[in-house]
Subunit: 152 residues, 2 copies
């Protein structure tokens, strides 16, 4: 087993990449959410929310990352992969994680209004593990500032 410290360091590195994706979304006027999928320490997909740009509610960062990772790895199941996403997945994205059998989900900020933990708490794969709160403040601030700016 990996040391906890080492795992935490890797998680933060990966979450920084997800945050960089969220920044790309922000620059396009999108709700700033980014995602990265890693497999054995290697990034196999990165994506950011594009629902406005693509005029498509299904274009969440996680959905695109799952599609891209399956394409990259040549298989639709991702049990050895970890999804890093800046905000708690919604039921749609968590459902996709379940179908893809994603082994681990790491997210930054909770989404109590729209997140899967409230609306679909059992949709992840039975063996999936979840880590919450990695770089939480940065992930959360990005969202809060975005919605505060919208209201100005």
């Amino acid at each position: 087993m990996m040391q906890n410290d080492e795992q935490q360091q890797i998680d933060e590195q990966m979450m920084r990449k997800a945050l960089a994706e969220a920044q790309l979304a922000l620059q396009k006027g999108e709700v700033p959410i980014g995602a990265v999928i890693a497999c054995k320490g290697r990034v196999v997909a990165r994506a950011h929310n594009l629902t406005e740009t693509l005029c498509d509610v299904t274009a969440h960062a996680e959905m695109q990352a799952i599609t891209a990772a399956a394409n990259m790895l040549g298989g639709k199941y991702l049990p050895e992969c970890t999804l890093y996403v800046t905000v708690e997945p919604c039921p749609m994205c968590a459902g996709a994680c379940g179908w893809a059998q994603l082994g681990r989900i790491v997210y930054g900020a909770r989404d109590e209004k729209r997140g899967y933990e409230r609306f679909a708490p059992k949709v992840l794969h039975a063996k999936a593990t979840v880590t919450v709160g990695v770089l939480e403040d940065e992930c959360s601030d990005l969202m809060k500032n975005f919605f505060a700016d919208l209201r100005k």
Copy 2:
């Protein structure tokens, strides 16, 4: 308000189109599920499950239909649309229906093992109405026969 008989007739006509899509999936060796989205009596999208063909767990019939309908209509919200799907949507697809604000969902066969009603009963839009059991036997038989053949 439309007469119930007239609505039922339209629902069956649309579900026949969804069943035709499910047959296309079957011919490709896919789990036979088809979907159609109608807006004011007009079909604006049709799709069938392509998860194997595309090696992508997100390629459910409903997801593709939602993306296609938004593209066709030029807007990502579909409050005046009805989704016809041969089998009860999963939480991923029901979550997408919620984001798209789909006004009405009509499905044929229940899916007690994987359906949204069990795992994510509150993800549809608050104003959405749901009709269950249109051409239920045909929709259900298609699935039962597919899985029975797989086990042979």
